[in-house]
Every structure is written in structure tokens, then in C-alpha cells.
Symmetry: D2
Subunit: 507 residues, 4 copies
């Protein structure tokens, strides 16, 4: 039974009203289209250069105050943010669905990730551990302390419109840094709504400095202006490899710091011992979920030659039965591609797969609710005899390439033979294969999973990848150190002045 929903634009207005966000949509502003129906979802006003500079300037000023606020107190702000996110979870998730096209469960999961990172960051706020270190000199005490770094710029992409900000902001804030957020042009509403939720936390917190957190709406030029600004100590940028390639040298040349989360081209190896039922479920979720628009979406499937047809058939079958449609609809597992450009890239990638000698099934466009500018598609499977040119590229769409392998070393070699290095996984019950995959000569990715898909998944681990993925790490483990500067201090409390390494310099 099909539920009935308001138009996305009306839906968004209603949710924003519930959240108490006013001033949007801004008539006469830049139009933002909704992937659900291809129609205008809202209009927004972009920040001009003066407004941008004012936000940077306010962040710099806020930094001087915020850095001296004790970290556990900074953590209190993040705790309050977590509370407000819990309270507004449904509303924010609804906006994620409307702007990014995710199904409700995934949208709720994205907000949950925001909440989780807040909890984690609150705990961190009483740690931020440096080291005390044994000194070689008598009467000397050595220690390492982590200090706030400076204002942080977060550039986020449309496909995780709010979680990526939260990963960065929760850590940046407890680490003592203001945050400026430049969201994707495609998803300004979720950013504005998140900022409103944050404002509630700030109000309850009481005395945070003005300009601690702000959102800059704008296009590529706004992003570039921010990237070039020497006041922004750290640029955490999520997006395409091309974007990263532009951003990284600019930041490097001004001795800024970058966290880059760029393209992935994630693979799964299916070994003969794999639990195939588990594997197929993992494949379908990983390749087709979020319409293949996750950084960690599965794009390459490397299956032992003895199983390749069986696995491909099973996936093909599941693809053909996946419920596609309005992601607000209960039961729907596959929402739309984001826009026409995404659809065109999908078609081009399928064509490439065919040109590479592959056979492609699925991939049809589906018209839903008579929205000719919405791009719903059936996921596609490209069976290839061997790794192809097209498999070197990341296409943000539900297209899965399947190739056979003969022995495990070959499978690992295929997995590694792409320029990207985000995520990878293997389905096997064989511990030798599993551990070999996780070893120095195994997967070259930042994430390597066994018997689950390539999802990054939990906020307790560090998220990010190698090679063209950019090398950044966000979220758990010691990712927080990137948001701080390290200071090595030695205090001489003796009355003498011994030199290290036995050097003598007697006047």
C-alpha cells in the first residue's frame, strides 16, 4: 500500500517550520532542486565575499576565546548538541531524504551518526591526551600537549549532507576550534537546519563566543575563497578527487593542514569459502543502497571464477527485485540519483563497461510519479571477463562491475590496482585469506573489512583512505589530533644546564 506524501517543497517547508528555521526558502535566490521530483525544493541566498570574510574574521576572533575554555566545558556544548540532535532526529532525517534522496532508514542512520560522534567527542573532551616522556637530562621534565589549532573549514558533499559536518565539528569544537561549514550547493537546507539545531545548543550553553560556528552558502568560488584564506588552519574537504587535487596544493602552499576524503572505488572479493547468502545481502546493500552514491559504495566485485556466475546471477536477481521509488515510501530501498548529471554519468559508465567487453544488465531508468526530471534507475550489473579501463574510475551510481579471479593473490592485486584507496572487503570463512587481506601486502585501502561490505560504518574507528582518496582520517581513533597542534615542552627545574647527546659548550 502506497503512502501519500506532500510535494517535497511543501514537505521541506513543513519540516523547517517544525524546526523553527525561518527565512527559507528565500525567494529570488539560487534554486535548489530536489532529487525526488526534480522540481525546485527551495531557493537560497548565497554569501558574498564580504559575508564570507566576516565569518572567517568572526571565527578567528572566536578562536582566541574558545581555545582557553577548558576542553570538558567545550565538551558540554557538544553534549548539548547531541541532545538537540536527538530531539530533532526525525525532522533532520526528513530533510536529508528530501535533499539527498536517501531512504528514511539511511537518513535516520546519518543523523544517528551525528549523535554518536557527539557522545564520542564528549568523552574525548576529558582526554585529548598528550604524553609525559622520560627525559635524558637530570632535573628535566618532558611532555607533549595538544593545543587548539585554529578555525576549521568543513567542505561537505551532497551525499552525506550532515554527518560529515558532525564528524568534523564535534571533534573540532572539543579540540578548541571554531568551524565554518561550506555545504554542497545541492544540500543547503540540511546545513541551515543543522545550524539552527546547533544554535539551540549554543543558547543553552550560554557563553560560547560569537561566530564559533557558521555556515557559508555558495558555489565553487565561495569554496575557493575559503580554501585560500590563511586564517583557516585546517581544511577538511569531502568530495571528488578532482576537487581534492585542486584544494590540496593551495592549502599546502600556505602551510595549512588538510583532511581529504575523496573518491573511492571500493571492491569486494568473494572467495570460495564465503557465506554466499551473507555475501549477496552485503553486495546488494553496498552497491545499490543510496543509489550507489556513498563514498563507500561497492563498485567492483572480484569473485572466484568457480562462483562468479552464481554470485552475479543472485545479485542480478536481487537488483531486479529491489523496490525503487520515493525514498519517503515505506519499503522502498532505492531512491533517485541526484540529478541529470548523475544519470548521464551512470549511462556513460554502463556504455564504457560494454565497450570494455562487458555485459550489462539492469540500469533502466524508471519514471516515478510522472516526474520527468527525477532520475530513478534500476541498479546495473556489468559482467566483465577481466578488469577494465572503466573500472579505474569512480562513478557515483548503482553500477557494479564483476570480474572473476583465479587465486587469492590475484584477487588482492585486482583490488589494489586502482588509483583510489578508500574501502575494501573480502567475504571468506578462511582465516588465512582474511588475515592476508588485512596484512601489509593485502588491501591498500584505509578500510578493510571481512564478511561485511565496504561500509566505514562505526564512528569509533578512523574513517578515510589512501592514494587518490586523499589520506585523511576522520571520526574515531586518534583522528582528533589533526584538529590540534602538538607542543613538545621540556622544563628544566634543576640549577644546571646539561645539553642533550652529551654535547659540551662551556663558556
Amino acid at each position: 500500500m502506497t503512502q501519500s506524501f506532500p510535494s517535497p517543497a511543501a514537505h521541506a517547508r513543513a519540516v523547517l517550520a517544525e524546526l523553527g528555521v525561518s527565512g527559507l526558502p528565500a525567494d529570488g535566490g539560487i534554486a535548489v532542486r530536489c532529487p525526488l521530483d526534480g522540481a525546485i525544493l527551495t531557493q537560497v541566498a548565497y554569501d558574498d565575499a564580504r559575508a564570507i570574510d566576516a565569518k572567517v574574521s568572526a571565527a578567528s576572533k572566536a578562536f582566541r576565546a574558545w581555545r582557553t575554555v577548558p576542553a570538558p566545558r567545550r565538551g558540554e556544548l557538544v553534549r548539548l548538541l547531541g541532545e538537540e540532535l536527538r530531539a530533532a532526529k526525525n525532522e533532520l532525517a526528513a530533510l536529508v531524504t528530501l535533499e539527498a534522496g536517501k531512504i528514511a532508514s539511511e537518513a535516520a542512520g546519518e543523523v544517528q551518526e551525528m549523535i554518536d560522534i557527539c557522545d564520542f567527542a564528549v568523552g574525548l573532551s576529558r582526554q585529548l591526551y598528550g604524553l609525559t616522556i622520560a627525559s635524558e637530562r637530570p632535573g628535566h621534565a618532558m611532555r607533549e600537549t595538544w593545543h587548539p589549532l585554529g578555525p576549521v573549514l568543513v567542505i561537505s558533499a551532497f551525499n552525506f549532507p550532515v554527518a560529515v559536518w558532525a564528524w568534523n565539528a564535534a571533534l573540532a569544537l572539543v579540540c578548541g576550534n571554531p568551524v565554518i561549514w561550506k555545504p554542497s550547493e545541492k544540500t543547503p537546507l540540511t546545513a541551515v537546519a543543522t545550524q539552527a539545531i546547533l544554535e539551540r545548543a549554543l543558547a543553552r550553553f550560554g557563553d560560547a563566543p560569537e561566530g564559533l560556528c557558521s555556515v557559508v552558502l555558495g558555489g565553487r568560488d565561495a569554496g575557493e575563497r575559503l580554501v585560500r584564506d590563511p586564517a583557516l588552519a585546517l581544511v577538511s574537504a569531502t568530495g571528488s578527487t578532482r576537487m581534492g587535487q585542486a584544494v590540496a596544493p593551495i592549502v599546502a602552499a600556505r602551510f595549512g593542514r588538510s583532511i581529504l576524503e575523496l573518491g573511492g572505488n571500493n571492491a569486494m572479493i568473494v572467495a570460495p569459502s564465503a557465506d554466499l547468502s551473507l555475501a549477496v545481502r552485503a553486495i546488494v546493500f553496498s552497491a545499490a543502497g543510496t543509489a550507489g552514491q556513498r563514498c563507500t559504495s561497492l563498485r567492483r566485485l572480484i569473485v572466484h571464477e568457480s562462483l562468479v556466475d552464481k554470485v552475479a546471477d543472485a545479485v542480478e536477481g536481487a537488483f531486479s527485485r529491489l523496490p525503487v521509488g520515493d525514498p519517503r515510501q515505506a519499503g522502498v530501498l532505492l531512491g533517485p540519483l541526484h540529478d541529470k548529471a548523475a544519470y548521464d554519468a551512470f549511462v556513460a559508465a554502463m556504455d564504457q563497461a560494454r565497450a570494455d567487453g562487458g555485459t550489462v544488465s539492469g540500469g533502466e531508468r524508471l519514471l516515478i510519479d510522472e516526474h520527468p526530471e527525477a532520475y530513478y534507475v534500476r541498479p546495473a550489473l556489468a559482467r566483465l571477463p577481466a578488469p577494465s579501463a572503466g573500472m579505474q574510475r569512480e562513478t557515483f551510481a548503482p553500477l557494479l562491475h564483476v570480474v572473476p579471479y583465479r587465486d587469492f593473490d590475484e584477487a588482492v592485486a585486482i583490488q589494489n590496482d586502482v588509483p583510489q584507496g578508500l574501502s575494501s572487503c573480502v567475504m571468506t570463512q578462511d582465516i588465512r585469506e582474511a588475515e592476508a587481506f588485512l596484512a601489509a601486502s593485502g588491501s591498500d585501502c584505509g578500510i578493510a573489512n571481512v564478511n561485511i561490505g565496504p561500509s566505514g560504518a562505526e564512528i569509533g574507528g578512523a574513517f578515510g583512505g589512501e592514494k587518490e582518496t586523499g589520506g585523511g582520517r576522520e571520526s574515531g581513533s586518534d583522528s582528533w589530533k589533526q584538529y590540534m597542534r602538538r607542543q613538545t615542552a621540556t622544563v628544566n627545574y634543576s640549577g644546571a644546564l646539561p645539553l642533550a647527546q652529551g654535547v659540551k659548550f662551556d663558556l
Copy 2:
């Protein structure tokens, strides 16, 4: 009583012979001049492009073998290197003196630093700790492992011709990475000698892969060729800010990793409560030692107005009495500037200080042993009424700028108000000042010391700095992580496939 020494060139030949290094000097090669007498010390042959590419290629091949050698076994190579360095300490130190112009005690200290980092790295070779991490999903185990990264390029500067290589190489080797070393054009002999010492360790070790460690002799073009090579996963470059500004964007654009150790402009604050005897000794060693050619040399002295004349007078007196001369000579504390360019920069900096309203004492050139092309100088003190334009720049020479301050916050502001961020220190007996200096709103440098000079000093701490110093960290603490890639792995050992964050996707 003055000792008598052979000419530097003859001295170098004798030491190289003792070390068993053959093939040098290479007649007809590029001439290398000795700072002690300004004469040709040796001639060397530069690697051409083909030779460079062959070394990179060999390193890449060696990497595939070395990364699978267990880390404690890799540590054994570094342990043997430490043993060989202990055995050859005097000889290598002699070469450091001849090429870099350091006095014997400092040259020996530099080799000791190599030995220390070997000991430290051997211990690390059984650690390289990643984490096991609590997973939110039942039947899942999460862990983080650090894997070898790839061949490492070390670019070192003339002033620490061997220690910087050792800091990098000892860690890189235990971390599983081959090392290519591009030493300064000014100090090829120490590099070649170090390589010979390493070869002995390799011979004893037995089965290290070919091409694991190599030296590339050459100029800026050789360096640039290496920096651009995508096979070199990490570029650890020590030198000027200008060099770093050139290197960083190139490496960033190819998603390589950099460790930058660039310019310092290190300051000391002398507070009213300071132990002045200690302070003056620290100042003289820090400002005049190594002829002001250390990355951490003291260049700016910020003294409370009540003491500024007293401190300046004492330093001036010590400067005027410092024994300058052939650094091989016992008792000599100050050897030569490296070359004419260094001398010219010294003179220019003194002129600038005068132009900025300062009074300069010292700075005279001293002719030693009738070597008109050797540049021995008396250290200079520039008294300035306030921070000046010239104090914004690093000049690699024994020129110390002195300015007064009124209150402690002002002193910290002066300390921080330069583009560089390597090292800093305060002389005070007051714990409030000391801790304020080490706090988030205190020194913005990577190194901050209390009651010692700005020396980085011990290999147990992380060495490096912020801002134009480049942000890199070498040596102790968790600097080793930069030489490895992090992998976050989750193993599902259950029969189910739960998703994180409560996401549901049931086929």
C-alpha cells in the same frame, strides 16, 4: 696551545680511508668546498636522471619485499646500524666537522643523536601499536593496524648533515619502508660515509632487499625529480621555508605525504625572575653555537625591560670572548659560517637591524689561518627598541636580536608574531609564567622550553614546528605514524549482517 691539523681535504681523505669508503674524491666531479678553509674538500659525481630513476625503481621493488619482513626483524637492521655508528662515531663526527664546520663536541653529539634514534627505533619495532576498538555490532571485531607506507625520500640540509637522515631512516626502516636520501649539495661526504656504515650493517643483517637504502647526489633538479616521483610515498624535507613552499604543493597534488622541517625564528623570553647565569649560558650557546646555523638557533631575545641592558651586556661580553676558529681545535666553540652566501646574509641582516633602528655589536669577520675564502665571524648582538621588520626573517647566522617587553602577555605576543613556528623558550622561575607559556594561548611553536634554550634536544619527543616551519614532526612520540598507513578493519564473525547506526536494509 694550538693543535696542528692536516688540511681539510687531506683530513677527509684519511677519514674516508679509515671508514673504507672508496671512489672519493671523484676527480673531475662537482667540487665541494670546505667551510674551514674555503678550499675544495672533495669532488663528487652527481646522479643523472637515469641513475635517479633506477634508485627509485629499486626502492619500489625493495618495498614489496621489505614490507613483509616482520618489524622486529627490520629493527635488527637498525640495531646493527646503531652498532656500526657507535664503532664509527669518531670518523663520522670528523667528517661532520669538515663538511658542516661544527665543533667536535657538537659533531659527536650529532652522531650520538643517530645512535639514540636507532635505539629508540629498535624498541619501536616491537610496538608500532595500532588499536583494537570496541565495536557497536555484536559478533564484530574492530582493529586498526599500521602498515608500511612505501619508499621515503629524505631531503636533508647541510647543517645537520647526518642526524636528520637518521631520524627519518631509522623510523622508516622499522616501519617497513625503503629510504632514498638526497643530501645537501654541500655535504655529500657525510652522506656517502653514512651509506658505507649502513652497508656494513646490511652485510651483517644478511637478507635485506637490494635497493633498500640509497643516496642520490645532485642539485636542485635531482631533488625536484625525486619530489615529483609518485613512487615516493613520503617526502621528508628539511630546509628553508622557500624550499618547503615549492615542495609541499607538488607532493600534495600527487596525494603524497610530506614531513616539512623548515625555517625557524626562535625566541627566548627572559623574565624578571629568571636565573640570569643560566639564561646567559643558554643564550650564548643557542645563539652563537654552530655559528647560528641550527634550525633551532636562538635569533630573538625578548627581555623584561628591567633587565634588558644587563642581559644584553652579559651576552655581548660572552660573545666577544667566545673562542672562534678551526672547529677541530680543542677549546674552540665557534667554527665558520658555511660559505660566502651565508656571510653575505649575515652582513645584510646586521644592516637591516641597523636600518630598523638597532645598535649592532660584534659581527666582525675574522681571518683564520690565512684562509680568505673561509668565513669566520664574531657573533653579533642587535639591540632594538621594539620588534623590527628584520626580526620577521630567519638568517642562518649568529645574529641575535634583543628587544624589551613590559608585561608577560606582550612578551608572548612578540614571540608569536613571526611567520615561523619552530621553537621557543622562556627563562623564568615563576610557575605561572612558565605554564602560561606552555598553554593554549602561550607559545605557538612546536617546541616550547622552560629554563633551557630553544634546542629540540631529545629524540624521545617529537621535533618540528607550526606555521611556516611546515608542521612536520620527526623522531619521538608518535612521529613514526607518518611513515605508515593506517588500516581500520572490522571482522564480522557472526552469521548475521547488522548495519551500524541502526540502519535497516532488508531484501
Copy 3:
């Protein structure tokens, strides 16, 4: 202006009703007296042996389930506990005041500490970091994992009737362990109320196993029965050194684990450079606050001979002016001693000080509101010419011993020359003294502070002490490891069986 309060018993009934705690007071049970008026506060029923064993048995069973619940999910229970504590903060603090006699601000602070540790533990629940470790054998992966330990027994004392439970329980729960709580006989109501608050969290959590957390009310025999039970993997006991001396060997003999938080005999050194205004405030709060009934109360004051009279006079003056009275009363800073035994010990300690050659001021008993069985006293200062026999003992009362010292080494020696080793502090502006105090040859206590009193203070650090204090550590840093068992695992994923250390054993 004096506020009017209900009788403590009526007050307690009202608060319990607000908290929804029923079944108390239990008529005919064991009477619990209130320090505020010496009258019966409530009556409670003690658990008999059968009830105790049932609770242990339920905990053991709960352990088998709880240990497999993912730690972040366990953290969710603790997060909910934190929320419920926030909601019930005032009520629980009121009970702390009624049972323990603390002033409102301190009682609220104690509940805040419960909340803080919950936040901290929630963060930990996604960490519980073990290590991955470099193995010396090819094809082997080594790692260390921390697993749940088993049911934890918490024995708490009257003076921190709820915080100590929370320190232990929050960590124990995220670490995967059930908790049995044996509160002091003097403070059952706060325990029962806390359990009720926890039940709310458990209800919201949903599926925690039965018997995960329980309270055992009883006397010494109940405690001993629990201590001997081999099912209780860890005994975390706070109380007197005598109690610890009884508990420790029993637990050791059954290879159980202990965390002991026993007697303190905390000192402050006041150096000539001290900020005396700060020092006096710190002294008065530390020595007289909570009527000297904190583990970290200041009992010994070691003052430089040049200042000793001045400091003693200032403290004496402050003591004489301290507002003593019903701790519910706004403005009152000093509530009652807990009971007659405490008062008798106070009097005996003052007598001992006189017998030791000291002069004692203050110490008078004050009758408040005509409650002859309540023991309100004025804090006492004992001036002694040198360290005395009486200063070797901890007396839980507001009696501060003052002795002079000549040089700093002597001061440190006096500080260390007692059997206890909990907390210590120095007031000095001199960094040499401060750092010497914190060095290997300085204070021998678990806590060493500079320019604050001996309070343990923040939950981010580890709390506990050496020598007769028992060696345990609770709360922050890696204290959580005591609640887990460590497992070192090596996985051989090669096809070979190399032995470590080069051992050969070829069949």
C-alpha cells in the same frame, strides 16, 4: 536570614517520594541516624545471606549475557543513567546532605561527579582500546584485547555515599561487568535512591539482563560474605586502611582483583613564594570542608618557618569565622561530624596533638538547634614545633596540624614521612620547587597538586594513592583496565610454524 527546614526524617521521606522510591523507611528495620540532628533518619532491612547469595548468583548470570552486548550499546545504558542523574540531581543531592551531612553545594558537586563519569564512560565505550602489535614472525598478527572481567563488588564509605559507586559502576558497566553495591551502613538511603534512578535508565534501555546491578544492605558480615565470594572478580573497596588490610589478603588468596581506596593523610607545603591569599583559601576549604571527612581532606600543613605564624594565624581566623550549622542552610560552609564516634576521635586527636607538644585552637563543639546528639564542631588548628606521633594517623575530622620547615627537601621529607600516600600539594610560585615536588624524588602520593589543595578533583585523571592508601586507581586515565581482563592473541595466518626467538624443533 535563616531558612526553615523540615526534620531530616520528614525531608528524606519527601525526597524519596519525589524520586518514587517506595518501601522506605522500613519500620522495624535497622535504624539509620542522621548527622544533622542525631535522630533516626530511616530504618532499613538488611539483606540476609540467602538474599546476598541470590544477588551474586544473578550477577554471575547477568555477566554471561552482558559481556556479549557490544560495548557502545552498554555505553548507552550509562548515557541514560547520566540523563536520569541530571534529572534527579537536586533530589539525590538532598539525600546526600541528609545522610552524609554535606553542604548543598558539595552534595550537588558529588552528584555532578556521577554525571561526569557517566559522560566519560560513554566515550570510553567506543574505545576500550587494546593494541595491535608488530609480530616477529612472518605471517603472524598479534593483538591485545580487553574483555569483560566479571561481577564487580563496590564497597563504599559514608563520606562519598554515591560518587564512588558511580566511578566504579559507570566504568564497570561499559566494561561489561555487573555491579553489586555494598554501601556504608550509615548511608543506605542514597544507595537505594541511586538504584531507583538506575532502574529508570534500565527501563528505558530495555533489554539489560536481570540482576545487572543490585544493592546489598548490611553490615560488616555482609561485606565479608561478599568479599569472600569467588564469583566477584573485582572488589573495589573504599574505606579505612584497617578495612583494606582485612579485605586485601582475602581477595588475594582467591586470586581476585582489588581496587583499594583507603586512608589518606594529606599534606600541603606552603613555600615562601606562595600566593598566601590563594593558600589560605585552599587550606580552609581542604581542611574544614565536609567537616574534614573527605579522603583528601587536608590534615597536615608544612609551612616555611618564615611564614608559619602568619599562615597559622590566617587559617585560625578563617576557622573561627566559618559558618557552622545545618548544611541545608544557605551560607553554611560546615556541617556536622557524622556521629559521636567521629566526635570522640576528633577530641582524641586534639588531645594527642597537645600531648605531642602542640597548641590547639578551635575544636569546640557547637550545639545547633538543640540537637544534643548531633556533633557540630568548630575546626581545630594544632600548631606543633615538629612532626608528631599524632600526625602519623588519619582522623576523619576538621583538625589541621601545622609544622614549620626550613628547606624544601625537608618539607618533602615531612610530607612523605607518613604511612599513607593518597594526596599532597604545594603552594609555591617557584617552578623548581613545583617540579621537584612532582618528580621521582618528590611527593610519594598518588595525587600531587600545585597551587590547589589536595583534592583529587577531576574525573579525567586517575584517583588513588600509594602505600597504606592501597594502590588502587579509579575514574580517569586507564583506570578502566582494572575492570577488564587482557588477552594477548597471536594469529598465524601463514602455512608455516616458525617459533619465536629462533628456536628450532623439527620433527
Copy 4:
């Protein structure tokens, strides 16, 4: 071809002479018998009470000096010890063979372990990391430092006569503690020889305090005297559970610290997917190597019912072919039991196995070289239908019990159902079984291996076990913390005195 060896006594004299150890054997002293021939190997003089007290007193005095020696300098002593051990490796290993009866390769491996831990400890000596911790109060800096603890008593057992000392001593020394060693009565020569080797290192080191390291020769009363001495801050005791049960409460009652390494009863699970060739080799080495006299010897084999006969047959065959004899002989893999008591226990355990319904093969005594008082035996295999009473006990002999299991949970339950908790392993290719074994509900041992035997193996991990094994951890990971005391320090560098948790106490 059989080699010819001198008598053990003559052999020992020759080796001691090579090592320059004089004064031994002491005629008229206590006789020490050699397991190789049952004859007197040497005679030694025991320390009397006065001598013991003098060594403790010297250690206490040495502690006051050693604790202030910088840790990296202390590491230098351990580095020199490692060098001396490398130089004397063959000699010391020969003594291990003579005293403990180990084959040459294992004896050499034991000395290698000493060397490895020295290397590791040298690295540690520049770490000994505490933490800097974010404070909740403005103007406060919190840190944790690890300080030397005090003299350490090492009680070692005959089966690892030198390695266990080295594990403890190398860490204790870099941690700043003197070490008193009470070796087994059965192995005084290796202790005396090790001390002589250490003296060489001390001589080269130069200025270590007198009494830093000493050996106490004696019996149980000497051990008890030491255990009771409050000057010995840490007792690290390796031996039987009975010994530990005696030691632990004594140390606990005086608030000393213990590291207990007691009985193991180590099991292996062989699953259907196991690599049987690997498994059998692992079993034979683990069960028969060192004549079953390792703490980690394999005593229980839990095999899937489908394989149990096949595995048992293969092990039986290997046992029957194992070369037994003089452990100095090349090719011999199995030396003697230590003495008649060991043999009697072996026989009794075989009898028990039969009484428990088992079938025992092997176990015959072999007369070698006509030495009727030497106890050479063939390893024994006891096949049992189900876990038996006899399998609850550790017998230090080459007796392996085999039982079948049906499903993996049952196998884990059998593994865990003994009072000891040292080591455990599983042979399986199935990652689900492997990870389940390593999970919270898997093995309850301190060591859990996959596809290797139960050996603890590498010094980089922490060694030790749970339950009756005593809970101690030695060697790698953070075991070093047990040798230090932790100090939590907060420095207030502000002019204010804020209290934590928002407490107010305004005078």
C-alpha cells in the same frame, strides 16, 4: 653419530671459567643436582638472614639514587646488559641446558629472549609515557607521570631459570628500580652466571649505585623473608599456584604489589577445518618440548570427534619417535625431567588418567648413559572419553590429555573449565571459530592463539594469565606500568581557585 660430552659438573665448571665466574662450586655448600645425570652439579652457599637483609638494605639505598638517574641513562645499562648477553649467549645457554635440562636450541632461545627484552626496554627508556590530560578548570594543567616504584623482588622457577629474571629486571631497571633475585634452588648457577654478566655491564656503565642488583641464594625460608620485607615494593613471583597462594596474601596485607605467574593448564582445540600437519607439529612441540615443563606446555587437547582418533594417532606416532636423550646432543628434542619428584608426579598423573577412564600410551622411563638418577621419559598421551578430574590439575611433565568435542561452544567450555587461565589455542581455518575463540565469551586465558601452540612466544605482547595463574603480566605492552607508581598532578597556574564539579566554597 653421537657426540661425546664431559660430565655435567665438569662442563659447568668449564663454562663458568669461560664466563669468569669464580668461587663456585662451593665445597661443603648445598648440593645442586643436574637433571642430565642426577649427579651433583655444584654446591652453593646460601645467604643467611643477615646477608639477605643487607641486600635488601642496599637495594633500598640504591633506589634513592637510581630513581633520579634519567630513564634513558638507565636504559643505557640495560643496553650494555644486552650486549654482554649477546657476547655470552653460548655459555649462558650451556648452563641453562645443564641446570634446567633444555635442549640447546631452546636454551639459546631463552637467552635470546633476555636479549630481546633488553632491546625492548632500551626503547621504553625514552618513553615511560604518562599522559597530559584536558582539565575542566581554566588555568589548570593536568598530567600523569610514572615514577620509579622501589626495589623489586624476582622469584623465578627452574624451568625458565634466566629469561623470567630478564623480563622483570630489564623493565624494572629502566623503570628506576633495584632488583633482588631469588632464583629456584634448582638453578643457582645460571643466576650466578647472569649476575656476573650483569656485573660486566655495570662496570662499563660506570656509576650505578651499589646494590642495584643482587642475587639471594636460598630456600623457601629465604623467599619468605624477602616476601615479607616491606622494603620490597613489588614481588614478581613465578612458580606454582600453591606458592602464589602463599605469597599473594602476605604481600597484599602489607600493601605491596604482586606480579604472579603461576600454574597453567593449557589447552588446544583442534577443529575440523584445522591444517592437521601444522596442528600435529604444534602439538608435539607444545606438549613434549622441554619435557612438558614449560608454563605454557600443552596439557589438554580438545579435538573434534570426527578427528580425534586421527590426531591422537599422529601425535602418538610422533611421540614414539621423538629423540630423547642428553639435551646437549645434536638432534635430541627431549631432555630429562628435572628430578625424581617430577617423575613421580608424571607417573601419578598417568595413573590418574587411567583411573579417570583413559587409555595412556607412552610414558616409559628411558635409562640414558647409565644414569639411574636421571629421569628421561617418553612423552605420554592419555585418551579420555570426556574431561576428567585429572585434567583439572597442572602436572609439569610431558603428558597430554585428549578429549573429543562435538560443537565449538562445547570445546570452548571444556577449555575454560579448569581453575587455571594461562594459555590456550585453537587450530582452525574457520574465521568464525577463530574470532569466537578470541572474543569475550571465548577463551578465558591471558594468552589465546590461533594456529600456533599455546606458547607465549614474543616479548612484545604481555605475558601472563587469569584465575589461578595469578593475573600478572610481564614483558611487552604496558606491563612496565606495574614497575612504576602513577602520579596524577594538577598545576594551577591561574590566580584563581576554582573547584571542580562546580562546587562553591567562598569564605
